[in-house]
């Protein structure tokens, strides 16, 4: 039984295939990178995994269980957390309240949830801002909050959607470090990212997609040197 497996997943919007017969596997404990040019369907893949869109075809298995067709919140309860490319802070709640709400995922006790939230916030180095309103955070902190909130649901698999975009190089460095820390704590990660330095640095394996189809999959260097991938990014000569 594989940890996570997408079997020939397909998504049509109207007549357009945003994701087309895409199959891949993620092993427990790895950081799996998902790359591709703009509009290649990366975020759609995330939206399919966490049940935001229904699949047009194919199956998604998580720990041997079919999860396609389940509502988003149930998929989260099973252990798949996600962050959004366009961050969605709960604006009129404080940072701590944001994360506490998340931490209720496996408990009904306010004290337990709060303790968990504090722990996650410290882990994400956001503890000193816990009483700030989420609407007042800088973009870097909002991205951290996004990660913290998904971590507080105690995911086994975490989907990170462009968590580095728009950050300064220094913040990116901190982000990479944070993601490694998350993985080392036992969480498997699928990451969508545009910044190649980050991807090459972090990922154990990479898959590149274009027009919703797989171009290449393998170790970072292999994929980066793949002719199709280079063409997809730079265009044909």
């Amino acid at each position: 039984m594989s940890f996570f497996e997408a079997i020939d997943i397909t998504k049509h919007f109207g007549g357009l295939a945003a994701v087309n017969d895409l199959g891949f596997e993620v092993r427990q404990g790895e950081i799996f990178g998902l790359i591709g040019p703009n509009g290649s369907g990366k975020t759609t893949v995330f939206n399919l995994i966490n049940g935001y869109y229904p699949l047009t075809g194919g199956n998604i298995l998580f720990e041997g269980r079919q999860i396609n067709g389940l509502p988003t919140w149930k998929i989260c309860k099973l252990g798949i957390g996600r962050t959004f490319q366009v961050v969605k802070p709960l604006r009129r709640m404080t940072v701590l309240e944001n994360v506490t709400a998340s931490a209720f995922n496996h408990t009904g006790d306010l004290k337990v949830a709060k303790a968990k939230a504090e722990e996650v916030l410290d882990f994400c180095r956001l503890g000193h801002k816990k009483d700030f309103l989420a609407s007042g955070l800088t973009i870097g902190d909002r991205k951290r909050l996004e990660i913290a909130r998904s971590l507080a649901t105690s995911p086994k698999l975490l989907l990170l959607d462009e968590t580095m975009a728009g950050l300064t190089p220094q913040e990116q460095g901190e982000g990479v470090e944070l993601i490694r820390k998350v993985r080392d704590s036992g969480v498997t990660i699928i990451i969508v990212e545009h910044i190649m330095r980050v991807i090459m640095n972090l990922c154990d394996r990479i898959m590149c997609i274009s027009y919703g189809m797989k171009l290449a999959e393998g170790l970072p260097e292999e994929v980066a040197n793949n002719q199709d991938v280079v063409e997809a990014y730079l265009g044909k000569e």
């Binding site: 966490n50 935001y52 509502p71 988003t72 919140w73 149930k74 989260c76 309860k77 957390g81 996600r82 959004f84 969605k88 802070p89 709960l90 604006r91 009129r92 709640m93 404080t94 309240e97 506490t100 709400a101 998340s102 209720f104 995922n105 009904g108 306010l110 949830a113 309103l133 007042g136 909130r149 998904s150 649901t153």
Partner: protein, 327 residues
């Protein structure tokens, strides 16, 4: 903040002691109505202010509660006080069904759907006059001559309602409600079933609104569909009470209810007979203007923007507001 917690302690005490000092039936009646509106406004606010689902149909639950009491009397000859037991659960059940239908819709479309459902109830209760008494309504005889029992009952209801909301908002449910209000998609991805928790919020809300309706039947001794299912006098009033007091605050609707009833009574009596007669017609106008003013200049209502108001008078610069949060 300190002043406010004092107010929270003292206000209930004043309300408890009020009938000891005031034995005018009229003033007692005014406060009874205000307390009933505390229940309706707070209930609406739990759903709209805290959970983000703006209902234009709370008259449904008020009407169900009122008719639960009235119909028991009319058809079974039972005391309408049994309605106080039946009204809440009935309204809650109807609330669940309405939520099941309407929570597929978001934002203003949910609001529109609740108007439509409200009108459906209004018209059905008018039409099936064999069962409901139709436009003739239901008339009963009040159990008590004195206002006192009604006063303390209304106070008890208001207290129970506000206390329930305080407890709910401090629990997991409260965190979930506000998360859904702030961003439903984010909430779902945090493991929150938006549908389930919206339904829960609606059920608590409709339960208390139904209780208020059953109380109304017993207290006013007369109901008809035009009154208890009224879009303007119940559903929209509930919204206005919430807005004026402060959407998404615990005490806002309570304050809003008293403001609404006071404005209404002050103007209905032509400012105690001091103003010309036509002023007595102006209570709804004044209230409407007040609502517009509040939406424009105090988006968080009297309670939510209390700091802004006090700083207006003391001239201090206002601190960034942190209201609307769960804790």
């Amino acid at each position: 903040m300190k002043n406010r917690s004092w107010a929270q302690l003292i206000a209930p005490l004043i309300l408890l002691a009020f009938p000891l000092f005031v034995d005018s039936d009229y003033y007692r009646h005014v406060v009874i109505m205000a307390l009933m509106w505390v229940v309706i406004g707070s209930s609406w606010n739990l759903l709209a202010g805290f959970t983000g689902q703006v209902s234009f149909g709370h008259a449904i639950f008020f009407g169900i509660g009122a008719y639960s009491a009235g119909l028991l009397k009319m058809h079974l000859g039972l005391s309408p006080w049994w309605g106080m037991l039946l009204g809440g659960p009935m309204a809650m059940a109807i609330g669940f069904v309405i939520g099941w239908i309407c929570f597929r819709l978001r934002g203003p479309y949910f609001a529109l759907a609740t108007i439509a459902v409200g009108e459906i109830f209004h018209l059905l209760f008018k039409y099936f006059n064999n069962f409901t008494g139709g436009m003739e309504g239901i008339l009963i005889i009040q159990t008590f001559r004195s206002k006192l029992p009604y006063y303390f009952l209304a106070l008890g209801l208001a207290g129970a309602c506000v206390l329930t909301i305080i407890l709910v908002m401090r629990s997991k449910w409260g965190y979930y409600f506000i998360s859904i209000r702030e961003d439903q998609d984010a909430a779902e991805s945090m493991g929150i079933s938006a549908f389930r928790y919206k339904s829960l919020s609606l059920m608590i809300s409709s339960f208390f609104t139904g209780l208020a309706g059953a109380f109304y039947m017993n207290y006013m001794a007369f109901i008809d569909p035009e009154v208890v299912y009224s879009l303007h006098y119940i559903s929209i009033m509930a919204i206005l009470v919430g807005i004026i007091g402060g959407v998404g605050t615990i005490w806002g609707p309570a304050v809003g209810a008293f403001i609404m009833v006071l404005v209404q009574e002050t103007f209905r009596s032509s400012i105690f007979g001091l103003a010309p007669d036509w002023v007595s017609e102006a209570h709804a106008l004044v209230f409407g203007v007040l609502v517009m003013f509040v939406i424009l200049f105090m988006a968080n209502g009297v309670v939510g923007d209390w700091k802004k108001i006090t700083h207006l008078f003391t001239g201090k610069k206002q601190a960034p507001s942190t209201n609307g949060s769960a804790a």
